[in-house]
């Protein structure tokens, strides 16, 4: 086992684990970041979405070794300096969730999309978010929240 070093929510982090270990479970079981959720284990629901170097990845099929030297962002790292990110704000305003279990993945999926395409329109949002499942049926409000966030961010992701 060699140490894997990466930046986690802005902080230099090192874990000594088998590099094949699954990112989701290292985050949850060893780093105590339980905001990243297990939903399907096969990258088909999106609940475990985190950002690695600003790309949305499904942490349930990502090896910890793959994040060596990279920037990892989880839901716990999105709000900064005690302030919610505009996407989080918009999710609160629109009540864009019910049970909340898919919400961290939804928010991070939307964040990754807006980083790439800050002017995302409704059609882009539907396309990009289609791989995220929500069983409660908060979809309409999630789309509205992402639109609101995109407008609030005025083209800048932060």
């Amino acid at each position: 086992m060699r140490p894997v070093s990466f930046t986690l929510n802005g902080k230099p982090t090192r874990v000594t684990v088998d590099e094949k270990r699954v990112l989701l479970w290292v985050l949850r079981d060893q780093l105590g970041l339980t905001g990243t959720k297990f939903g399907c284990g096969q990258a088909v629901c999106g609940a475990c979405t985190v950002l690695v170097d600003n790309e949305a990845v499904r942490s349930c099929i990502t090896s910890i070794g793959d994040v060596q030297g990279k920037q990892v962002l989880t839901i716990e790292g999105l709000a900064r300096d005690g302030r919610l990110h505009p996407i989080q704000d918009a999710f609160v305003t629109h009540a864009a969730f019910q049970c909340g279990y898919c919400t961290p993945g939804m928010i991070l999926g939307a964040y990754a999309m807006l980083l790439k395409n800050p002017k995302a329109r409704r059609a882009d949002i539907l396309k990009e978010m289609d791989g995220h499942l929500c069983r409660c049926g908060a979809h309409q409000r999630i789309v509205q929240a992402v639109e609101t966030a995109a407008a609030a961010m005025k083209g800048s992701a932060r």
Partner: protein
């Protein structure tokens, strides 16, 4: 403001080498135990509340002592204790509103403690759209009595007659001398209120409401958007917990004949537990436990029933009992004599999974003879009884705590995972974490039962329905009875509703799925009504109006038509418009939809849905709208794509790759309207809008292309087959 659990924020470098778990000090642990919502312990020992509980076990009801439901802290904060749980439906917010209304305190001063069997008053479970309509009056009554007692205490303290006192925001004042005040907190000083009233005071009348009827924002928002919200699988007891993965059979009714765990045991840190028929692999890390479980070699003798997802319908009809008459009137022979046109039709509905995104999860810790189980469950008190029985433990040695539940829909009324965690924790003496894989979730889910509905109905020359002979197999009675003006009718329910008990015709467990049975029944009834309307050459809304006298139903129908912009035209009009109505949990619903059908692919796109709902008094209008939108969106799944495929006892759909939930690209524009009905007591809100979804889409498909679908889900394949029949 962001809730801060104090972790991961200190130091510059977070270094975790090797297998380590986060230390949790006692104070943090107490906070975690109640999902961070509990302020109670800091001001009042929990024992004060325990006294108010009725004895555990056996038949129970809601406690009559209002102290069981509320506690006023010395700091003026009010703790509301309820046995209900929060699974997204918003009860955490709406129940807090009800308490605040009748106690006359600000909603912001109320803290909720939910689903903790040591702290909260008994409750049978969170299901059936009952939190508002059935438990709401109990909670409001408790708050009203507490308020009346507090007024008495204030009257004595201030030396002012009670009728001269007013309460606002927990402050009692003399209306003739507003400077003369005393607060609830000053009156109680954090103690429980010992005085009770012989005659229970009335709850507030609707016209006096200031909190009920307002869209108070969700209490769970901040925690849920920041990742701080704790679900059962997130709970970390002191010393950490071991993940348990349990060996499962390949099919229901299979028995294990051979097992070899030696390869799994070679993985460092893995422990294998065998207890009777249960083989569990334990490890500190979930992915390592997964790996170890995959190395367990087992053989099973299968005992599959000779049914599959195609033959099941014949099987259900053949094995069902004669059934029970749910409703009847007039005489069917007389109806047969009067009809000018008879329609005989059979409708089929397959098994559905609940498929919450949070799989069944639980953490159990066994300490000093007492097991504490944090469970994702809709039924903490029944689960406690189940654990008591399974582990032969007395009531005081079992505590179930329910953190946030990541979706339930009826599926988490069964909590097998929590019993498994409790069993393994007592066996090993170690805290155990059981989080089902998605495959386990699909295997042990209590599916919505497959069902068959047969209807023979007819109209007379005046286009009035004069005959209705309805028989449902295996969906149950909910939503089966019609509400039209039909002189000669009979509704029979056979084969039960899939809730267990008796001989089950199903090859696996079935159970309550959001508005159990109603979606199958409403699909059949409202499709049949439309078929008759089309035969009569009458617009389907007009046809319903012509055959209805129920004022509440006529009102939601008219409200939906106005919002939708419905103009009368007999189907198929080519517009792709559909209508369907239903009554569920005391709530009246009318939905209208517009669809587009791709004739070459069979793909159906639902473009918009309007829903008008009369649910009586509405506690939280935006919360009610969220539930309607959720019902309609979730409903698109059972309507268009969701189907549990199986062969014998083997479930073939094991993940979301083949079991298709509704996605963003499917979702129509949803416009929901709440009909003002202040004179009608609050009715159900979590379920009533889901049953009409199947029929409204089926009727809209017929209106679009003239093809009628009798079998849900209406997959592209089935739509193409229906088109080929036209």
């Amino acid at each position: 403001m962001i809730p801060d659990d104090g972790r991961n924020d200190d130091g510059n470098e977070l270094v975790v080498d090797g297998p380590t778990t986060f230390p949790v000090d006692r104070r943090d642990f107490i906070k975690l135990t109640a999902t961070g919502l509990l302020v109670l312990f800091t001001v009042e020992p929990a024992s004060a509340l325990l006294e108010t509980q009725p004895p555990q076990g056996g038949r129970q009801g809601y406690p009559t002592d209002f102290n069981a439901y509320l506690h006023i802290g010395a700091d003026g904060r009010v703790t509301c204790l309820v046995g209900k749980i929060e699974m997204g439906q918003g009860a955490m917010t709406s129940l807090g509103q009800m308490l605040a209304e009748d106690l006359d305190v600000p909603t912001a001063s109320v803290d909720m403690v939910m689903g903790d069997t040591d702290l909260c008053p008994w409750d049978g479970g969170t299901f059936g759209s009952m939190s508002t309509r059935a438990f709401g009056p109990v909670l409001r009554q408790a708050a009203a009595e507490a308020r009346a007692v507090l007024l008495q205490l204030a009257s004595e303290r201030l030396q002012v007659p009670a009728e001269r006192l007013a309460v606002k925001a927990g402050i009692v004042s003399d209306i003739t001398n507003p400077k003369k005040t005393v607060t609830y907190a000053q009156l109680t000083e954090g103690r429980r209120i010992e005085r009770h009233l012989e005659r229970k005071p009335p709850v507030k009348p609707v016209k006096a409401f200031t909190v009920i009827g307002t869209s108070v924002p969700r209490r769970d928002a901040l925690e849920k958007v920041t990742g701080k919200a704790k679900y059962a699988g997130d709970i970390l007891p002191p010393g950490g917990a071991l993940h348990a993965r349990i060996l499962r059979p390949p099919s229901h009714a299979a028995t294990m004949t051979q097992v070899d765990t030696s390869a799994a045991e070679k993985i460092p840190g893995v422990r294998v537990v065998r207890d009777g028929d249960m083989i569990a692999v334990l490890h500190e890390h979930r992915d390592v436990a997964d790996e170890a479980l995959a190395l367990v070699k087992a053989q099973f003798a299968r005992n599959d029933p000779p049914v599959d997802d195609k033959t099941i319908f014949d099987h259900l009809v053949k094995t069902a009992d004669a059934g029970r008459t749910v409703a009847e009137g007039g005489s069917l022979p007389e109806g047969e004599r009067l009809v000018s046109e008879v329609i005989d039709q059979t409708y089929l509905d397959c098994y559905r999974a609940h498929a919450p995104i949070e799989p069944h999860s639980a953490v159990a810790a066994f300490e000093n003879g007492k097991v504490t189980v944090w469970a994702g469950t809709q039924t903490p008190f029944p689960l406690k009884n189940q654990i008591m029985q399974a582990l032969r433990l007395p009531a005081e040695n079992v505590r179930v705590i329910t953190p946030y539940v990541g979706g339930g829909f009826g599926g988490k009324s069964a909590s097998r995972q929590a019993v498994e965690a409790a069993r393994l924790a007592t066996l090993t003496g170690k805290p155990i974490r059981v989080i089902w894989s998605r495959e386990e979730e699909f295997f042990y889910d209590t599916f919505r039962p497959a069902a068959v509905v047969k209807i023979r109905s007819g109209i007379n020359a005046s286009k009035n329905i004069v005959l209705w002979d309805y028989k449902v197999y295996c969906a149950g009675e909910r939503g089966a009875a019609h509400f039209y003006n039909i002189p000669n009718h009979r509704t029979v329910s056979a084969g039960g509703g899939g809730f267990g008990g008796g001989q089950s015709p199903h090859p696996f467990a079935t159970g309550a799925w959001r508005a159990p049975g109603a979606s199958s029944n409403v699909f059949a009834r409202e499709s049949q009504i439309d078929i008759m309307a089309a035969k009569a050459g009458v617009d389907p809304v007009e046809f319903r109006q012509k055959n209805l006298t129920d004022a509440r139903m006529l009102r939601v129908l008219a409200t939906a038509a106005k919002k939708f912009g419905w103009t009368p035209k007999a189907a198929p009009s080519g517009r792709g418009f559909g209508v369907a109505c239903g009554i569920d949990a005391g709530t009246y619903v009318c939905e209208m939809a517009e669809v587009a059908v791709d004739r070459s692919t069979g793909h159906v796109q639902v473009k918009r849905v309007v829903c008008a709902q009369d649910m009586g008094v509405v506690v939280n209008p935006d919360g009610a709208l969220q539930q309607i939108e959720g019902c309609i969106t979730m409903g698109l799944g059972y309507t268009l794509s969701e189907e549990v495929h199986f062969k014998g006892g083997e479930v073939l759909d094991r993940n979301f790759d083949t079991y298709e939930l509704p996605r963003f690209s499917w979702v129509p524009r949803i416009d929901a309207v709440l009909v003002d009905a202040p004179d009608i007591p609050a009715a159900g809100g979590g379920e009533p809008a889901i049953p009409p979804v199947g029929a409204v889409v089926a009727n809209a498909i017929f209106d679009a292309v003239g093809a009628r679908l009798y079998h849900m889900p209406m997959t592209p394949e089935r739509v193409k087959q229906a088109l080929a029949r036209t």
